[in-house]
């Protein structure tokens, strides 16, 4: 009897969760489906969900017409470049705070966190003017610098929470066995730190890929990443839903896949360890 109720309850909640989940996901699904339609099918009334003549022409057209590959490469360079640069700066900092903390460590961490709270418009004007004067506007270099700096607090914090979990006793044990500092780092710490570094990297590539304040304000044509490329579709001429969908699908697909792998890290990275 009781089992029957729980079974029925499970089926009910399953149906409810799937329905609501599909509803939330629908705009993405709809974008993906529309990208395979012709422009006239994309605005057909009534709209068809699956039964239309599938075509790839939008993808080929977007690629040909707008030099899509350059925007894509800009996104890759900016997000991966800023993440790697950020890690290079953050790993030593997080490392030393996790393994040889001083009485200032906590305050420094809180201060680092507070720099992330600075709203971008608070520094928009000077950054724009500095970039203009030094020829950094619309360059990949300029964007990598800005993106590194705005994500550095998150990178340091995430690494810190991961490094904190590496037990200190293991270091002492290695030291007892006569390991030098270099050996300690290479054979003991690095293997334990790599998963944390990889997760941090993943989350930050995602954040930088989707960043849409600085990328829109500091780029024009040369260094514009996909966020800016898609924004150019906001003033359309003629039929464009299917092409917009194709461009959008290509812009979000890689990050969607990476994002699904980083669900757990997302919580840790964006709450600064306040929710585990």
């Amino acid at each position: 009897m009781a089992r029957q109720i729980t079974q029925r309850r499970k089926l009910f909640f399953t149906a409810l969760a799937w329905t609501l989940g599909m509803l939330i996901f629908f705009p993405i699904l709809w974008t993906i489906l529309t990208s395979f339609k012709t422009e006239s099918e994309a605005i057909a009334s009534p709209p068809s969900l699956f039964f239309f003549s599938w075509t790839l022409e939008n993808y080929t057209e977007v690629m040909e017409r707008s030099n899509y590959f350059r925007f894509f490469m800009n996104s890759v360079v900016i997000s991966v470049g800023s993440t790697l640069l950020g890690l290079l700066i953050a790993v030593p900092a997080a490392w030393s705070m996790a393994f040889s903390p001083s009485r200032h460590t906590k305050n420094i961490l809180m201060w680092i966190l507070s720099t992330k709270m600075l709203p971008p418009v608070g520094v928009l004007v000077p950054i724009y003017l500095i970039f203009r004067d030094y020829g950094l506007l619309d360059t990949r270099t300029g964007l990598v610098i800005v993106m590194t700096l705005i994500n550095l607090p998150i990178i340091i914090w995430m690494l810190y929470t991961y490094f904190k979990e590496i037990p200190g006793e293991i270091l002492e044990a290695a030291r007892m066995d006569g390991a030098s500092l270099a050996k300690e780092i290479i054979y003991v710490l690095t293997p334990m730190a790599i998963p944390g570094i990889a997760s941090t990297m993943l989350l930050n590539v995602i954040l930088a890929w989707n960043e849409a304040f600085w990328t829109l304000n500091l780029t024009a044509a040369k260094a514009a990443p996909l966020t800016a490329f898609i924004a150019s579709y906001s003033s359309p001429e003629g039929l464009f839903y299917a092409k917009l969908s194709a461009a959008s699908t290509m812009a979000i697909a890689p990050i969607l896949i990476m994002g699904w792998f980083s669900q757990k890290q997302l919580v840790r990275g964006l709450t600064f360890g306040a929710v585990k």
Partner: protein, 290 residues
Amino acid sequence: MATTQTKTAARFMMSPAILLLLGWMIIPLSMTIWFSFQRYNLLMPGTEEWAGWLNYRYFLTDPAFFSAMANTLLLVGGVLFVTVVGGVLFGLLLDQAIYGQGIVRILVIAPFFVMPTVSALVWKNMFMNPVNGLFAWIAKLFGFAPFDFLAHAPLFSVTMIVAWSWLPFATLILLTALQSLDSEQKEAAEMDGAGPVSVFIYITLPHLARAITVVVLIETIFLLSVFAEILVTTNGGPGYDSTNLTYLVYSQALLTFDVGGASAGGIIAVILANIVAVFLVRIVGKNLES
């Protein structure tokens, strides 16, 4: 254990990060403060002069500032309401024993990974467009006249788009918090005859309190700076109906090139964000000690 040598090494390892962040904060921010007291327009070079509090007086008495403040609060408040309530409900739902939980979770989380310009344009054109949008089609299906969302309810529309992007974040964090709830406590309460509602009010909700606070604070920090969604859907209009503080400062800086006025607005945005930041930093700090 911490010898002088390791201490020096630690300082050396930390300094690049600290110096960079310090520079990133202090140099541009003090420039913004300096500009905010200047009469400085990029279109009128050579007319720069000390302006005292004039920029602040203009900015703070501009009717656009009042609509921008109101819109900022409505946008942040609206998105917070939708995402926290929705996040709790989705969290509870995903915490149940259901088939294919992993897949449903992926479906719900997906919008968070969609870049703002894509989500804004997809909603604007394929859903909210009064001629070809899906909502218009549904309205016609039921015999209603299609509604032009972005022309007649621009702020509401932007709020919906942003809420869709942030619902996954709230869900994910609240779900994580729910999963750390001790099930024995719940079972004990149920054994004592507590119904699902009182279990939720007296056990689940207090347990979620801190996670909800964290969601509210972090979302507020990000939502104060909503920009791309407004830029590609409404351009802040019609009039100032969907202009928030961030967008107002942007338009003063990069559309009318009023460096002084935009800087004053930027400083006001910084002060606003700091009020929220103080609470967030305190909560995270408490957690760091435990």
